[in-house]
Symmetry: D2
Subunit: 347 residues, 4 copies
């Protein structure tokens, strides 16, 4: 007989927590027992996540009311999880953190990136960076999973094969992420006000994006990596284009081979490079709600530039789905559990 | 041991056929054996429906290549199914038609609505109008299912309870449907050209909408019904607001009771009327890809006007999902099979 | 030699004030001398209204710093202008109020509509309702102009001709406004948060819209008027469809004649009813930034229903442009001054 | 007394021709005498460009009906103008071509870029590249103006100052353009079908963009230039981010100085780099309908990368407005004539 694992979600009124909840409710091995929100305690979760009307009767509780669960998922603002980690470790054997708090291995890099010392630097080594494509083995049996950042994931998955295989020239790699508005979270701000945002193409992080540190940590090789992030009118999704450089004679077909070699067995990676029709490269439009990372590329043979492209749903493969896939691996379940659905078309 | 039913989809390159295919691929009891498209024969279905990449290896075949299947789903342009029905009846025991061809019972109404005589008027009586909420009993064991129209469905489900219970005054009912662009199909036209459509609020059918005939046929009572359809920048979804009239003293609470009485057991109807938060009434934003019909209402006690609201995904509850639900009933399967997922939030 | 009039805008950091500023900067007879904002005092107006970069060097001042001007335009939150009117009357000979404070003539209607007693009921008679099409004569030389409400304007201009000419049957008129997000103002709220709003079709006022009172006041005849307002993903614009009822035999051609008779000389009203192409009826897409009100209609001869349609930019013909047109009339200037530009296509 | 110049627009049913028409109708020195369209000959231009309803009574004529005009503006598909240039030279003293036909000086580059030999290579030297910021002197009195390409313009204006001043290191420059759907023209295609395009972020030209040739021709210095173009859900606008490399010690302030030095007197260039508020960098949202090119930048001092940003309306500063500005210079008129309006906010 199958035994379910219980899950508590801490900080479940935001988009990441809400998305994990959606996935967990459909997962055959999970049973969500508690969802916390200080602001909405006592209210039905479906009031905040109206897509879940009729699908759960859970009500938000305060974090202080947490009881033990097999798995505790932390969906707190960046900085909070690390400060309160002892509180949550007492509640569950497996902890998944969706924030940036435990992603970086090096406390000095953390300090340089986030502007303050890490509260528990000695614990950083306990956490596995929650990227199944790079760390599947380490995830098996893991009890501390630091979910990868969304933009970082799109950059890492696009660049990993050619870097792993040592193909790229050691020149500057420039990656641009086109990001949907949900990536900034569920709190209204002046900049998220619909009339200011709906028609906007807003460069919000031309330089200095914090996910640069994650991507450098995870990607093999020594090369300068430059990230730029631009917000678009989409709600979900990241489309990343990365410009990298290959040796003379390296061909389109070689890139195909490299991607296939590295990702052949990956259940959530699709290579999209089609010679006809209108959907020739990765497009986040097709990925809303799914855990896919679609990857594509195009060579400029005259210059040795290769344009690598990746598309994900920032809340799924970029956050909650990636975490769920990691959890599936940690527990030895089918990696697709709770994640096996197609996107929509048209969408 | 479970025995699967085989399904062939005729006209599978359009949006309705593609959506049925998406649902069928995830249905535990169905096995899609063929999908036809004259224009795309020989090509992978995932070239036309790129959301299905990695989820099926099916290629389009020509209708002439159809072999027998348990179920044949017709997703042809309006007018085609009726003309070719004999061709398809030889291929499957159960026929589901997603077009308007077999929805109307009265050939004269068909002629008045569609401007030509029905090619097989004597067969109209064999078809069950594919609306589970109104015709669940008739659908059990049915072998001819005429899937209800999308705007009609949104109108019918909103108005049915108060009409069935005889509550409404016999005054003019005015219903306005705000419709997404996918409702016009997969073929590019001058009016669907993105620069002309993206910012548009276009009244495309102020009077004379053909679904008026369906709604009149299905709704009990005698009253003038007026439909207006406006296209919006959404891709999917219909939001319908219907203005109807109740007797003095009829209250908000009475509407609640009526909806609950009629729809209490319905798996895909949710009543949405919330006093707080930002999602107080039905909104198609929350329904993309789902089979829900969300219903809401508000009373104007000063005037006896009740505003009834419904939201659906036109391609799911408005077409392919409604058809799937009908098929589930016809076969005695769990009504939710292949349809049991939540929408997204945010979306 | 032409003499300019000086203008001060009070509450210029919101959308209505900002739009009036944009128009005034391009007006040949006006010179903007001050723009107030308590929150942004000291900052360049182009920081808040970035479209005006390079077009004005004005900085916001506090209302307490106001000096005399020929014209004072009040763009304050509803309720503020009436309470502070004495303060502003000392600053300028001509006062234009963009809020709802002075639109209603009857203090009892004001109380019923806005839920509190009017602070200066004895002064209401001094104000002209700022709708040039209905009150051109009264506006000549006017020194107190209460700018009409945006949804009210779209309803009034659509219905006025057939009501003025006594054509409509005394049956319930139902009008639905599809409204852009800018109508809710410049302050971010949970409901205006882009991820919650971008894909939404949200019925925000099914019954009880306050502009009903304005429309009833201004429209001739005795009939029940019902308004419903729905927010759409557009930023600007209102599309109103009003369902009214004409006698047997009243034809399409008769509606044309009525509209022409009443609006023949109107510089900002266009009748849009085209038999070919894709732009057959009014569409707010074409009106962003313009002062036009496009009007259209369609008859349902079988039922006597006529669908009247109007489209405006809520911030221009719905607010600042309407006010500017009224000011032009009040001063005897060309009515088009500062307002004579086309919309964009595509847009 | 002012003497007007007459203008004929050839190919006026497309977006470029329509936009030139909109601007010309508001130009104090121009009188539009004819607009041609083979497909729409005989129809009112306002049927195709509904924003011009009530603003012109012109009807389309066939090109064969052209009579002499002072200025002939060619808005034909790429390749047509060069083939038919003799036909049009007989009709007007000044010819402005909005296509790509006469932009490139070197017939070999033309052949390599457009895949066929130029029909009149000997004439290429007669044309001035219509970019006022780079070629103002050459434009004075010019009678052959080849309007610059839209993406090229956004790239050129962003990069020109640092290249002109010899600041940039000779490293690969990568520029990404986010482009609105109107850039692909007025003809509906499978890819422009609203349901396929509305939610899409589509890399349509990862390598090999034809405007690379224009940008290389116009920009000083010797460096590899790489362009990538991505379509976004906006209708108008291009946002370009270009990554370039400066020497150690080159600062933010130095970039400011360079931009100011080169563009100090430019009427349509604004430098947008603001430390507070939500509109900190160029954003095409604010530029619809305007002739501005907004420029911004940000330095990554750790790496020597400078991110240069430009935003334009592709149909105005990217096409028709740029051409109008060039025409103004050619005729010795105020450069702002017909172009002096602000964008909208919100928009």
């Amino acid at each position: 007989m199958t035994e379910h694992k219980t899950v508590a979600i801490v900080g479940g009124s935001g988009y990441a927590g809400g998305e994990f909840l959606r996935l967990a409710l459909g997962h055959p091995m999970l049973k969500v027992t508690q969802v916390t929100s200080e602001r909405s305690a006592g209210l039905p979760v479906s009031l905040v996540h109206p897509n879940l009307r009729g699908r759960t009767n859970l009500k938000f509780v305060r974090a202080a009311e947490l009881v033990d669960a097999d798995i505790v998922v932390l969906a707190l603002p960046h900085g909070s999880a690390a400060k309160r980690i002892a509180e949550f470790e007492g509640k569950g054997r497996v902890i998944v953190d969706l924030s940036a708090d435990f992603r970086l291995k090096d406390p000095e890099v953390y300090r340089a990136t986030y502007g303050e010392a890490h509260p528990t630097p000695e614990r950083l080594g306990e956490w596995v960076y929650g990227n199944p494509e790079l760390h599947r083995e380490a995830l098996r049996g893991a009890t501390r999973i630091a979910c990868a950042g969304c933009f970082a994931t799109s950059v890492i998955l696009a660049l990993y094969p050619l870097l792993k295989l040592g193909v790229l020239l050691p020149k500057d790699i420039v990656a641009t992420g086109l990001v949907g508005s949900s990536a900034a979270g569920a709190s209204a701000t002046d900049g998220s006000h619909h009339p200011e945002r709906a028609g906007s193409l807003r460069v919000y992080k031309p330089v200095g994006h914090r996910h640069t540190a994650e991507a450098r940590q995870e990607l093999p090789g020594n090369f300068p990596l430059h990230l730029t992030a631009i917000s678009t009118p989409r709600v979900r999704g990241i489309l990343t284009t990365a410009h990298a450089w290959v040796p003379d004679g390296y061909s389109d077909r070689d890139v195909w081979s490299a991607y296939r070699e590295v990702y052949a067995e990956e259940p959530f990676i699709r290579i999209v490079k089609v010679a006809r029709g209108i959907h020739r490269y990765p497009d986040p439009m097709l990925l809303d709600g799914t855990n896919y990372c679609d990857l594509g590329f195009e060579m400029d043979n005259d210059t040795g530039r290769v344009v690598l492209m990746s598309a994900i749903d920032n809340l799924v493969k970029g956050t909650a789905g990636h975490a769920m896939q990691s959890l599936n691996i940690a527990h030895g379940w089918d990696e697709r559990s709770g994640l096996d659905f197609a996107g929509l078309h048209p969408a």
